[in-house]
């Protein structure tokens, strides 16, 4: 909603998201130096960043999942760590471990790579369940408990995890409890023909691409992100839209095509992400359009199809679409 229309209506704006909107545009401009296409993917990553959510990125190898996540981290001036998940990775390799100092006869906690603001977990589904489980507490509560002592993560703390589709060799299905902790599951597809041509052109014509990558400038600081997140929380949500969100979630629990419906955590994720999306679009209220758009990335990894539906070749997105089509938009 721009300023002209608010003036026409004679109403004062409820919140000013121009700063946030500008920052988002700047990040996108920086990313476009290197990333061709993937607009929706980038939008969702930024929404998750502003909504304090973790993101699971799924796609076949070679479609710039990791690169995009790295670049997003680079446009934000915060600590960044990358963890490559492998089948032999142990929880202590992620969280940290106690080291004995013979001189003082004491144990000191040596923090693991999870202690960072933006953590890129590459190929998360290559680690076994034991290591996946070590992420439960840190992803939900932003802290870890070691030897009875709590260690709090920095603010912001965002996990961006990439994974290959589970049909790929050497991968494990992530536990439901962990999947539920991701705000979004973003499916990244292949670029279009035109985008593919652009990718080839950019690599052919600009041999100093790596140097350009290094020149990507940070747009936001950690303090600014925290401030913008507070603004996002002030986005107005009408009770009718709240009820609309709730009805979508409730329908997933009663749908015959689903073995497992969405949790209340999914409702909260849909709400907070819809608020962030409205703010990114420079709007101070949430519309059903925002909810519908985010229902797929919020719900697709939290619901489970019945075996019969899986045999039919249905996908979670098909069921989500059907559920949305059954529910009347509050109008």
């Amino acid at each position: 909603m721009d300023q002209i229309e608010e003036t026409v209506l004679g109403l004062e704006p409820q919140a000013d998201f121009s700063e946030l909107h500008t920052a988002v545009q700047q990040i996108k401009d920086e990313l476009r130096k290197r990333i061709i296409g993937q607009e929706q993917f980038i939008d969702l990553l930024l929404v998750a960043l502003l909504a304090d959510g973790h993101v699971l990125i799924e796609g076949v190898p070679g479609i710039a999942k990791t690169l995009t996540a790295k670049l997003i981290a680079r446009t934000v001036d915060v600590a960044f760590n990358r963890i490559q998940f492998t089948p032999d990775l142990m929880p202590s390799d992620v969280l940290g471990t106690s080291v004995f100092h013979p001189g003082t006869a004491t144990f000191d906690f040596k923090k693991g790579p999870i202690f960072s603001s933006i953590v890129l977990i590459d190929e998360i589904n290559r680690a076994p369940a034991k290591t996946q489980a070590s992420l439960f507490e840190v992803m939900e509560e932003g802290q870890i408990t070691h030897d009875g002592k709590e260690y709090t993560m920095a603010d912001p703390f965002v996990v961006l995890a990439t994974q290959n589709p589970i049909e790929q060799e050497g991968t494990y299905r992530l536990p439901e409890a962990q999947l539920d902790r991701f705000m979004f599951k973003i499916l990244v597809g292949y670029p279009s023909l035109q985008e593919e041509v652009s990718i080839l052109e950019i690599h052919h014509q600009r041999p100093s691409l790596q140097r350009e990558l290094d020149e990507i400038q940070p747009v936001l600081t950690s303090g600014k992100i925290v401030q913008l997140r507070q603004q996002v929380k002030n986005v107005h949500v009408d009770p009718k839209v709240l009820e609309y969100i709730a009805s979508i979630i409730v329908q997933t629990r009663a749908n015959k095509a689903l073995y497992l419906g969405a949790s209340p955590r999914a409702s909260l994720a849909l709400l907070s992400s819809a608020k962030a999306l409205a703010a990114v679009r420079n709007r101070n209220f949430v519309t059903p359009e925002d909810v519908q758009e985010l229902a797929h990335p919020v719900l697709r990894h939290r619901i489970q199809l019945t075996p019969e539906k899986e045999m039919e070749g249905a996908t979670p997105d098909d069921v989500i679409k059907q559920i949305i089509q059954k529910i009347e938009v509050p109008r």
């Binding site: 009820e243 009663a254 059903p288 089509q325």
Partner: protein, 251 residues
């Protein structure tokens, strides 16, 4: 030298003792009376007592050649009866039919399983007895499920304006607009569609831009939660009325 000569005779001495001692001991072990009795009394042949033998032969404990089956339990008797009944239906005259009866039960069970699997695979849910019955979920909140083709917009808008309920009045104006667009087959009305979907459906139509503007106003009022005063309501209403006039002009 004398010691060497003695050592030469020692084996012979040992053999002599070995021969002489048993002779002496056996002779001591046999009493004279027993030896005499054995020589004068005839051997007595003992006979088997036929009565004892008969009683042993008749004893149930020693009938190893018979298959003594334990008494049937009530459950077994039940299945035997079922088997006999099935046999009577199928026309069999065998008396001991327990094995064949069990075969019939197995066949029936397998047929039942096959039918069940086929029903499940074909997604036939005409009975709902075997599957998980999904409970109907009642969503307890106010929904706006009016059929826009049945509403009397004129009177409802007048009523809302009279009551000073400007948000509701704007909503009714917008719904009326959607009805007109639907009647003109410019959009396809479906309750689950968002307003932006209708904007998209007007693609390549000159009405799209003004409709997008009106939609933006409606969303600001309806979802934005802001209270409208009379002046701002009049401004929005004017925009909507201008759009309605342009629709009629296009039609």
């Amino acid at each position: 030298m004398r010691f060497k000569q003695v050592r030469l005779y020692l084996p012979f001495l040992f053999l002599l003792m070995f021969w002489a001692l048993p002779q002496h001991s056996f002779a001591a072990a046999l009493p004279d009376s027993t030896a005499a009795a054995n020589q004068h009394q005839p051997l007595e042949v003992r006979q088997i007592n036929p009565e004892k033998l008969k009683s042993l032969q008749e004893s149930e404990d020693f009938k190893y050649y018979q298959d003594v089956r334990p008494d049937l339990t009530a459950w077994e008797r039940f299945w035997r009866k079922v088997g006999q009944w099935l046999n009577s239906l199928l026309g069999s005259s065998k008396e001991d039919t327990s094995d064949s009866n069990w075969n019939y039960v197995t066949y029936i069970f397998l047929i039942g399983i096959t039918v069940f699997v086929i029903i499940k695979l074909l997604q036939i849910d005409f009975v709902g007895l075997f599957g998980r019955k999904t409970s109907k979920v009642v969503i307890p909140y106010e929904t706006y499920t009016e059929d826009i083709h049945e509403l009397n917009f004129q009177s409802l808008i007048e009523e809302a304006e009279t009551q000073g309920d400007y948000r509701r009045a704007i909503r009714l104006y917008y719904l009326n607009m959607l009805k007109v667009l639907t009647d003109l087959e410019l959009i396809k009305w479906t309750p689950s569609k968002t307003n932006r979907t209708y904007v998209t459906e007007l693609q390549n139509n000159p009405l799209q831009r003004p409709f997008a503007h009106i939609t933006q106003l409606f969303e600001y009022v309806w979802y934005g939660g802001s209270a409208l005063n009379e002046e701002s309501f009049a401004a929005v209403r004017q925009s909507i009325q201008e759009f309605n006039r342009s629709i009629k002009a296009k039609a």
